[in-house]
């Protein structure tokens, strides 16, 4: 489904504007600093429901930080993030907004799932437990139902027979596919994919990307994807954001970004990536 | 309930006994440091090494207090309880430090031994100039832990009547029938020594961890 509204860099008028937006995710003047280092510099962009956005750019340009802010793994320095018309990084207090408490975050972030570069499966659990643990304990899904769903998801990622294996018995690519199933088991509206193939041996990359293509085609999950796999980005995303030094250098549909980049920074970045890949 | 006058009165005696305790600790620990190193090296010998291993294992899995009492009962009367205490504590902790040294020695890269052999250094130079300096540097924090442990084991010398801190406290207590202040002060004196030592040790750890 093509995004209905992809207004970017339109300055929202003060606090509270995110609630007026039709977008699912709104970054409103977001700044993130680590000490003296500014990673995200006054960033504004929004993502429509069902939209699949790929973030590209040189390492250190702040792409991963965007995902980590959305997953509440980092605290925002300035600005506000809105999700579904409600403040996300902050919560309402009277007329204004204050930094979100842990309880508020817990209530909000259950719509978001994330797949990590290093898989981060729990080694103390089997594949099955990795997948059902959160639905059972967080969503309160009955165990039978969670098990059935786990089996379906494992079939989807092509690992049905590995359900009782240990993560350590799986290859990196298999682990990552389990991690995708684990994230999907929480039925997120938004799926964050953080360089999910970067830690894999080259021959295992395709299997993981195929699974993600399948997810993209068969569901309407909103996806934010940081990747160096340009052909994957071209295939699945509705929109590509090119980042450089904490700002959006260029954005557009994948055909334009990859076929006819306008910014020099985009051109040189694409050249370097494609040189490495092929 | 708490008699400060009385506390002040007993403090000099207790501080004197603390001095004795520290003395026992340092002497015992010195024995442990030297003997432990010798054991760690000797344990590499084929047969004698195995015997030593079994012996140190036995020392480490049986209680110090019964070892102290046992040796005390078997020593001639003219040897003072304090000497016996220091020796037994020293040997007991040598069994521990030997393990620490051993892990340090095993941590020295194999290439270092081979390099020494390639230079055909004599055994004494190999150990003294190459292996031990590297091994010991790495285990200094672990060895430091045993200094504090030794200190905290000195009170059990009350079992053979050495006039260390706890023995002195018991003497004062039974002479006066006022034990609350005495034993509480002893507890604080222990903290007074062991907390600063622990802080010092952590500094040491940080310093040597960087290497």
């Amino acid at each position: 489904m093509p995004p209905s509204d992809t207004t970017v860099n339109e300055e929202p008028q003060g606090v509270g504007d995110g609630s007026q937006d039709q977008s699912l995710i709104v970054f409103d003047d977001v700044v993130k600093r680590f000490g003296d280092l500014t990673v995200l510099d006054d960033l504004n962009f929004s993502v429509a429901p069902g939209e699949r956005v790929t973030l590209i750019g040189p390492s250190g340009s702040g792409k991963t930080t965007i995902l980590r802010l959305l997953m509440t793994l980092e605290k925002i320095t300035e600005g506000v993030i809105w999700v579904g018309g409600e403040p996300f990084s902050h919560m309402r207090r009277g007329q204004g907004l204050v930094h979100a408490s842990e309880g508020y975050l817990r209530a909000r972030r259950k719509r978001i799932g994330m797949v990590f570069q290093q898989f981060n499966l729990f080694p103390n659990m089997t594949v099955r437990q990795n997948i059902i643990e959160a639905p059972v304990h967080v969503l309160g899904t009955p165990k039978d139902e969670a098990n059935t769903r786990a089996e379906e998801l494992l079939d989807l990622v092509g690992l049905g027979e590995k359900i009782d294996a240990h993560p350590t018995q799986l290859s990196g690519g298999q682990q990552q596919r389990v991690a995708i199933a684990r994230a999907l088991a929480m039925q997120p509206e938004i799926l964050l994919l953080d360089e999910v193939t970067s830690a894999l041996d080259p021959e295992l990359v395709a299997g993981v990307l195929d699974v993600l293509r399948e997810v993209a085609e068969t569901t309407d999950i909103t996806m934010l994807c940081v990747t160096h796999e340009m052909s994957f980005a071209r295939d699945v995303s509705h929109r590509v954001l090119m980042f450089d030094q904490g700002r959006i250098a260029e954005e557009g549909p994948p055909e334009q970004i990859f076929g006819d980049p306008r910014e020099d920074r985009t051109k040189s970045f694409l050249r370097s990536v494609l040189d490495n890949d092929f | 309930m708490w008699d400060f006058q009385w506390t002040l009165q007993i403090l000099p005696d207790l501080l004197g006994a603390l001095g004795t305790t520290v003395q026992i600790t340092l002497l015992g620990y010195l024995i442990a440091l030297v003997l432990g190193l010798l054991i760690a090296i000797a344990r590499r010998a084929p047969f004698f090494g195995t015997v030593l291993h079994v012996a140190t294992e036995f020392i480490r899995t049986t209680p110090l207090v019964i070892q102290v009492v046992f040796v005390f009962l078997l020593t001639p009367a003219h040897i003072s309880p304090m000497t016996v205490g220091i020796l037994v504590i020293g040997v007991h902790y040598a069994a521990y430090t030997a393990e620490v040294y051993r892990s340090g020695i095993e941590g020295v890269a194999k290439g270092q031994w081979e390099a020494a052999r390639a230079l055909s250094l004599p055994a004494r130079r190999t150990w003294g100039a190459i292996v031990l300096p590297q091994a010991i540097r790495k285990v200094i924090p672990a060895l430091g832990n045993y200094l504090i442990a030794t200190f905290k084991d000195t009170p059990l010398l009350i079992a053979i009547g050495v006039s260390e801190l706890l023995t002195e406290a018991q003497r004062i207590g039974s002479a006066s029938f006022r034990v609350v202040e005495v034993y509480t002060v002893v507890g604080f004196l222990f903290l007074l020594v062991s907390i600063p030592s622990a802080i010092l040790l952590r500094r040491l750890e940080r310093r040597y961890a960087a290497v």
């Binding site: 799932g113 | 899995t61 924090p141 832990n145 905290k152």
Partner: protein, 242 residues
């Protein structure tokens, strides 16, 4: 030999007291270690400060001094007299628990940050994260040092005869006094202590192996476990002496 065989029941009585003290002390130490260790990993300063105070105070005071305080000072202070056995277990548990709390704290902190991030991504609560992910993984790391602490606690029980508990050391002293045979009387106790230690070491090894298996780490054959009566290493890590 006859000497020991005749008096074996007495020694076994003493050994049983030693074992009870060890089990009681370990149980208390374990609960305290978990409680204060987990407290030491909480971000808020107050629980962390409480945990540090507990650890430093009870690690800093010798178990025997604590025992004397409870057996002699506490009754005078409160008019309430603890059972000697209970006082001994309390002192041992508080002391070893302080060492254990440090082990728990550092093991929890050693669980990779990425694991914690994964629990955030799955929206687990703090309690669920601890129970389902962090503690099961930290457990394998705690066990080797816990094993050393168990041996140290068992050894530390031997001082209880000084406050009048009839443990294995007390029996050895009694035997010596009633028979005049110092060497034989003590050897009986030494051997029993050694055997108890070996059983404890064996038990802890089994636990370690199980924990590693649960994490999908199978130790190389023969490397993970030794024969129970072959001298095994105990108390070699930093938390060694008590």
């Amino acid at each position: 030999m006859d000497f020991l065989i005749q008096r074996l029941p007495l020694y076994l009585d003493g050994a049983w007291v030693t074992i009870q003290l060890t089990i009681g002390g370990c149980a208390l130490a374990f609960v305290l270690a978990m409680f204060f260790g987990i407290m030491g990993t909480i971000r808020h300063w107050l629980p962390r400060a409480i945990s540090t105070v507990y650890v430093e105070v009870f690690r800093g005071i010798a178990a025997l001094v604590l025992m004397f305080w409870m057996a002699f000072a506490l009754p005078q202070l409160s008019g309430f007299r603890l059972d000697d056995m209970f006082a001994a277990i309390l002192a041992l548990g508080l002391n070893v628990g302080a060492y254990g709390a440090e082990v728990v704290r550092s093991s929890i902190n050693a669980v990779p940050k990425a694991q914690v991030e994964a629990t955030v991504a799955l929206n687990l609560s703090w309690f669920q994260r601890m129970r389902l992910v962090v503690l099961p993984q930290a457990w394998a790391q705690m066990l080797p040092t816990f094993g050393n602490l168990v041996i140290e606690l068992m050894k530390a029980t031997a001082v209880v005869y000084l406050i009048g508990v009839a443990d294995l050391t007390a029996i050895a002293q009694n035997m010596r006094e009633s028979t005049g045979e110092t060497v034989i009387a003590f050897i009986g106790a030494f051997v029993l202590y050694y055997l108890i230690a070996q059983v404890l070491i064996f038990g802890m090894r089994l636990l370690e192996r199980r924990a590693n298996r649960k994490l999908g780490r199978t130790p190389p054959r023969g490397g993970g476990m030794r024969l129970p009566f072959k001298p095994a290493s105990a108390g070699t890590t930093q938390a060694g002496g008590i």
